[in-house]
Amino acid sequence: MTSLLEAVPSARKPVPGNVQFVGGLHPLDELVFQQENVFATTGVALSELRLSLIREAFEYHYEACPPYRRYCEVAGVSPLDVRAYDDLFRIPLLPTSLFKKKELVSVAPADIAKVCLSSGTQGGQSRVSRDQRSLERLLGSVRQGLSVLDREVDRERHVFVLGPDTDEARDLWFSYVLSIVDFLHPTDFYVRGDCFEPAALLRDLAALPPGPQPLLVGPPFLFVELAAAARELGLRVNLAEREGMIITAGGWKRHQGQALSRESLDELVVTGLGVARTHIRDTFNMVELNSVLFECEAGAKHVPPWLFATARDATSLSPLAPGAEGLLAYCDPLATSYPCFILTDDVGRVSADQRCACGRFGNSITISRRVARVEARGCALKLDRSLSQQRTETA
């Protein structure tokens, strides 16, 4: 019997009349949205990837954001100066404090989808305008980050957020990022009207039908409250039996007075919520950064391959050797609506690109503390002042 394929000799040839090829993905989108293991790229390929993505982002924002261009001109750096990997260190960095004073945008006002505000922990709120593409890529980075938490990315999960939903989160970045996890997995929120409702969370957790892995996400101080509530209610919570995870985010913020060491917090939630120690993970993000960094099972906060993270000397802003402590800086090409080339208030370390104990390749960050005063930032402040001066002159 002749098969249909044999009967139609042209069956495996393109038929121009009814087939058309369209579109094409930017390599960054391919990486963020489609690549299965973003931490597989190594060596020269990783350096070339970073250089290519960040150089292109620098070129784009240099052209699209006039204030940033002027800032670069003051620093004496243009895209023509970024040719080799080491030139990435020359890209002018914006102190995050600048976002408290000036809104930097690289897109038309009509393209702004969300104005995002920081918590204002250190006085003043940063305002960062994001377009749809930046927000979608942020969500893509979260989805990629889930692969750092658990290699089974598409696992069925239920997320319990120790924070408000999107309506209540409004423009507050930390809460907003937590709230949009609802796009990825069914999510419940347990801060309503600024009140944390630990009893409701514990009740819903106990009632979770078999199947989904519970993920509890929130700031560390609310996990302290949650563990205390479980104890007060006499509940024996056993997250481990469902491979549940606790994901901390956002740090202690205004609750520094109650801050526990990581070890103490881990001990508290292991005891109070019955989670396996390997299933407690921290994450890192800030309103000025468009990627989210997740901690792996070996305790490393992995820097995704598109992100260029460095530690800088606090005075000269010179790049420091891998592992040396300094001010953390990031060049993040995921942001299209503002130049995400930032110098933060965080003091920490960036490791060399290396194979982690978890098997992933790349570098990772460790944050030690925050600088107490913005003014400590020497050259950053000078650049900041130069920009302010330029603004005055332009006005």
Binding site: L4, V8, A11, N18, K114, L139
Partner: protein, 328 residues
């Protein structure tokens, strides 16, 4: 713009209850074209809310449903999922739309494995469908299921390595019984040739597929073979795209899909640039609403047991008591 929605359960021809969401583009009572959206494997009603929004914006009513013996709110466990049961559900829902909802014409949108089911449904629904739009249509069931599960389960049944239909295998997230493989073979679903045969049989109904060039589960050559099988098939290949749509690929895919469905169902030429793309705030709001629907206990979804599968076929069914909600 006011949007109307209705959460309902349709009693299918096998007696199982199919959970469905009907969204109406307008409160005007006039008959409008309707699109039925069939769920991809392991997808539920919520997964197609973005497609639905694109279609609603073009004046279609949209009826989405959860397959029986599947994930979602319809009856049955996914353990018992078969392509035959998916076909029955799809035909039941299309007939419900035709006969009970008073749609002026019905089109079908089906993604992934549901696209394969839609191709066969087309020959059973001749005269009832204006067109079929698909994204990442599966054309070689054995190959795709094998790639997704990293296991040639159909081959295992074919060569007798597995004989127990109650035994299960894991597809992506869920386990399914080997009865799926047995029935796929018995009903001739499992080969590329069977798909091409269905395509030829369905030539009266325009079929459109958006295929990802780098789809690891569906070979581009197979999709081109589908295109060559019938002049009623049109294919758009999205460069660099994979099987699952994402933020970077969905816009273009949906624009082409909607453009095609509008052309066939409304006889209207629509430029890609004219198509309303969802803004971030809309996505957030609609996602939230879908979550609410998803969590509404299914017992509260209105049971609607009339007219399915021709038992009480008629076009003058009562208008559903639809709920009104302001569009975000």
């Amino acid at each position: 713009m006011t949007e109307l929605h209705h959460l309902l359960r349709i009693v299918g021809s096998r007696g199982q209850r199919i959970a469905a969401v009907l969204q109406r583009a307008s409160s005007e009572p006039a008959p409008r074209p309707l699109v039925v959206i069939a769920p991809a494997f392991e997808h539920s009603i919520r997964n197609s809310f973005v497609i639905a929004r694109y279609l609603l914006a073009q004046g279609f009513d949209v009826l989405r449903y959860d397959a029986c013996n599947h994930v979602g709110l319809s009856d049955g466990s996914i353990l018992d999922f078969t392509l035959d049961s998916a076909l029955t559900d799809l035909c039941d829902v299309v007939r419900f739309a035709r006969r009970d909802l008073g749609a002026s014409c019905v089109s079908l949108v089906a993604t992934s494995l549901a696209g394969r089911v839609a191709l066969r449904a087309a020959s059973q629904l001749a005269g009832e469908l204006a067109c079929i739009g698909s994204i990442a249509c599966v054309v070689d069931v054995r190959g795709t299921v094998g790639a997704a599960a990293a296991l040639d389960c159909v081959g295992e049944w074919l060569d007798g390595r597995v004989r127990d239909p109650e035994r299960t295998w894991k597809v992506v997230k869920n386990h399914v019984k080997y009865a799926f493989c047995r029935d796929a073979i018995a009903s001739g679903w499992h080969t590329l040739a069977s798909t091409l045969k269905d395509s030829v049989a369905a030539k009266a109904i325009p079929f459109f597929d958006v295929h990802g060039e780098h789809d690891p589960w569906v070979e581009t050559a197979d999709v081109l073979a589908l295109a060559a099988s019938s002049p009623s098939v049109e294919v758009v290949v999205l460069r660099d795209a994979v099987h699952e749509l994402n933020a970077a690929t969905s816009r273009l895919a949906l624009c082409h899909l909607v453009q095609n469905v509008v052309a066939h169902a409304q006889g209207r030429k629509l430029e890609i640039a004219e198509i309303h793309e969802l803004r971030w705030a809309e996505l957030v709001a609609f996602n939230k609403r879908e979550r609410v629907w998803e969590r509404t206990p299914v017992e509260e979804w209105e049971l609607y047991a009339r007219g399915v599968a021709g038992r009480e076929a008629r076009g003058d069914g009562p208008t559903l008591a639809i709920k009104e909600q302001d569009r975000a």
